[in-house]
């Protein structure tokens, strides 16, 4: 048993650090550490920098552009990125679509789409959820009817993250309404977002931000060449896709950053004339979440090491998602609590580019409540914690 990094791992970490120190643009770092919803341009620019280094699709097979990193190395990379304030590469193209195309796409699709994913020039979004199909994804209704060499798509997707910037969308659509089980009539298809009949409408979330969207399809004519794999096998590809989210699912790097931020904030805030961080009650709450994160960090690494050895980590990735979201949410909650009255003024203008006015309270105060509210999503999206518990229960108890 040995909890420290090996010499090789330490060397790798140092290489990542040098790269980040040298290549991460200040404006991107400031936006991601500070007020920022990062702009689309920043995401794309950073993606490009990583691509130049050959690090934009690290977990892909090496022959398709992957780095050959082990899961532990990837986790080191991920944590260092958080620590330096580098944005997370958006998962839709790199972690979701890419592996599906590599595993199930024909050569035509691979040639056409992998380069744009690797260099970040194509912005992809995801069309899975529908208003009536949240946790019960297989009940989706958006239909694709084959007509000649096209599919005619009708229906609606929702919770499409950052779809407002997207060039392309990958969708689950129903191609067989008479299949014996709903899972069996679903196909996986790609569409350019500028096809006639596609409309994107913003969903504003309760924190006032615009991250997610509804996407409407009205007789959209999609070339059949954009079908991935076989018709009616989309559910298999979707399950494959969802399993690829394992590494990084606990959000350790992000939570560590939040913990440091919380400590800075609590050192700056006062209670009864002393720094809040010296208050017994607050200290105790802080210690509890810090210890939880410490344990989670090790649980996460245990899982990575097992994955590295080729063992099936079983229900652990669902466990990491549950506890990881709980820890992250608790940290944001404590930031709001620490901010006191200055958590309350609503200053969305802060988040707009170029804003430079006087803010009420500190930046950490000002964004604490919106972030707390926004973070409620992480136990809902991508398979709610209830769904995760169901997955574990099925695997372990058999119910």
């Amino acid at each position: 048993m040995e909890l420290q990094l090996t010499t090789e791992q330490t060397a790798f970490r140092d290489e990542v650090r040098s790269f980040l120190k040298e290549k991460l643009p200040d404006d991107i770092r400031d936006a991601s550490k500070g007020a920022g919803h990062l702009t689309a341009e920043m995401f794309t620019r950073w993606h490009g920098i990583l691509a130049e280094k050959g690090w934009s699709v690290p977990l892909w097979p090496e022959k398709h552009g992957g780095t050959g990193w082990s899961p532990v190395e990837y986790a080191i990379f991920d944590e260092e990125c958080h620590s330096f304030g580098a944005p997370k590469v958006l998962p839709f193209s790199v972690s979701m679509l890419g592996p599906v195309l590599i595993a199930f796409g024909n050569d035509h699709l691979k040639e056409k789409f992998l380069p744009g994913i690797i260099d970040g020039s194509d912005w992809w979004c995801q069309g899975f959820s529908e208003p009536g199909s949240g946790s019960d994804l297989a009940s989706l209704k958006t239909s694709a009817v084959r007509e000649g060499d096209h599919y005619i798509v009708n229906g609606q997707k929702t919770w499409t993250t950052l779809g407002q910037h997207a060039d392309w969308i990958f969708c689950l659509v129903r191609t067989d309404t008479n299949a014996p089980k709903p899972q069996m009539g679903i196909s996986f298809i790609l569409m350019p977002m500028d096809l006639p009949g596609i409309e994107v409408r913003p969903i504003i979330t309760l924190d006032g931000s615009h991250e997610v969207n509804e996407v409407f399809f009205d007789n959209v004519k999609v070339p059949a060449e954009y079908l991935v794999g076989e018709e009616n096998k989309g559910w298999t590809y979707a399950k494959f896709l969802l399993q690829n989210e394992r590494i990084g699912i606990a959000g350790i790097g992000g939570s560590k950053e939040q913990l440091y931020g919380l400590k800075r904030l609590a050192a700056a805030e006062k209670k009864n004339g002393k720094p809040l961080i010296e208050d017994q009650n607050f200290k105790t709450k802080l210690a509890e979440v810090e210890i939880e994160l410490r344990a989670l960090d090790i649980t996460n690494k245990r899982m990575l090491v097992e994955t590295e050895r080729g063992m099936d980590p079983g229900p652990v990735s669902s466990m990491l998602k549950i506890r990881g979201s709980e820890v992250a949410q608790r940290l944001y909650e404590l930031k709001m609590e620490a901010s006191g009255l200055y958590a309350l003024p609503f200053q969305p203008e802060l988040e707009t580019e170029g804003w430079n006015d006087e803010m009420i309270g500190s930046l950490e105060n000002a964004i604490s409540a919106p972030r707390y509210l926004n973070t409620r999503k992480i136990s809902i999206f991508g398979g709610s914690n209830e769904i995760q518990r169901g997955i574990i229960s099925k695997m372990v108890l058999g119910f």
């Binding site: 959820s129 199909s133 949240g134 946790s135 019960d136 009940s139 929702t158 919770w159 969903i203 504003i204 979330t205 309760l206 006032g208 805030e269 006062k270 209670k271 009864n272 004339g273 809040l276 009650n281 607050f282 949410q329 909650e333 709001m336 609590e337 006191g340 009255l341 200055y342 958590a343 309350l344 003024p345 609503f346 200053q347 006087e358 009420i360 309270g361 409540a369 919106p370 509210l373 409620r376 999503k377 136990s379 809902i380 999206f381 709610s384 914690n385 209830e386 518990r389």
Partner: protein, 364 residues
């Protein structure tokens, strides 16, 4: 023992309910927020006409001599309807200070009762957290004129107030009436998370009228804050009741996997736990309402702190759970739940947060 609203209270709530149902729907609230408006004079006047502002005031001042249970009845309804008008800060907190200090009560109380004058009272300061008595705002007298310098933070209703009350140190906690338009007064106004209005008040040698005795306002400040805190527990009770209704309705009607999601035992039992919390919140908010004017300060503080702490903690979990049980829809701005959750956060934080009141309760 008797746990009902009186007939008068019920009638008041009913007329408030009817009136708001007509003039102030969730869509009205939404479009007001979109326009960055917190205070709508017609809405304010409508409340005044219904008598809810006169209600807590003494008869001599044109009021209805109501008690804090009346306030509870009104505030529960305001919370339920997401009313953004600064009722508590003017008609409950400031009115009490005006009454208790009596310096300007003859002139101002009748105007508060009719809604003609709206007052906001600021106690809290940056860096002093939830301690209403800790003041770095200094008041100095020269030639019978008091000048004030300092900053008050997140003063609810100050953005639209006709008059301001601020606490300041004049050899001890003291209270002053300030004209928001006077020299040396500047306001940084903003909306809070839930659309209610507030401002930071920046005083730079501003002139103020001393209310009551210089240095002797500690008890009045504490009593005023406690009335405000009790009123906000009722406001949160209303918000929680509506959140509960929305969530139950959603559990009954939203289907996934071919059945209503409320039929999943995990969600059903979590809803039950929320309902238990709601009964507990109602009970402790009632106690705060009954005791908020108790002349025995310790009894008052104990009850108000118990309520503010319990309601604060319960409402936080309640909001989180209601969102979680809704799933995605609970995250959207256009669905009412988020507005209730934000209102509960504001109510939890103003007039002493959960931690403050838990500590005060423990130390009494």
């Amino acid at each position: 023992m008797n746990f009902d609203f009186s007939e008068e209270q019920k009638m008041l709530v009913q007329s408030l309910e009817r009136s708001l149902a007509k003039s102030y729907t969730f869509e009205d609230y939404r479009s007001q927020i979109a326009d960055k408006v917190s205070h709508v004079p017609e809405n304010w006047n409508q409340l005044a006409e219904l008598g809810v502002m006169a209600m807590p005031l003494p008869e001599a001042a044109g009021g209805f001599d109501g008690n804090n249970v009346d306030v509870m009845a009104v505030c529960t309804e305001l919370g339920r309807r997401l009313v953004t008008e600064p009722y508590v800060s003017s008609a409950v907190v400031s009115a009490y200070i005006v009454e208790a200090t009596s310096t300007v009560s003859e002139e101002l109380l009748p105007q508060i009762a009719t809604g003609e004058v709206q007052i906001a009272a600021g106690f809290y300061e940056p860096g002093e957290r939830h301690d209403a008595l800790a003041s770095n705002t200094k008041a100095t007298e020269a030639g019978g004129i008091w000048k004030l310098s300092g900053r008050k933070c997140v003063v609810m209703g100050a953005d639209s107030a006709d008059k301001l009350i601020v606490s300041a140190d004049a050899g001890g906690p003291s209270l002053f009436l300030v004209d928001p338009k006077a020299n040396g007064v500047s306001l940084r106004s903003y909306q809070l998370l839930d659309g209610r209005g507030a401002a930071d008040i920046i005083l730079e040698g501003a002139e103020g009228t001393l209310l009551g005795e210089a240095g002797g306002a500690a008890d009045i400040i504490e009593a005023a804050v406690d009335r405000g805190a009790a009123a906000l527990t009722a406001d949160t009770l209303g918000a929680m009741q509506e959140s509960s209704t929305l969530t139950q309705e959603y559990l009954r009607t939203r289907t996934q996997f071919g059945r209503p999601i409320g039929s999943f035992q995990v969600l059903a039992h979590r809803m039950v736990d929320l309902l238990v919390e709601l009964e507990q919140v109602k009970s402790i908010a009632m106690e705060a309402a009954v005791e908020a004017r108790n002349e025995d300060a310790e009894t008052r503080k104990k009850s108000v702190s118990a309520a503010k702490a319990k309601v604060g903690a319960a409402s936080r979990t309640f909001g989180q759970e209601c969102i979680q049980m809704h799933g995605g829809i609970g995250m959207t701005d256009e669905y009412a739940l988020g507005a209730y959750v934000k209102r509960m956060i504001v109510n939890e934080t103003v007039y002493g947060d959960t931690d403050y009141h838990l500590n005060r309760f423990a130390d009494l």
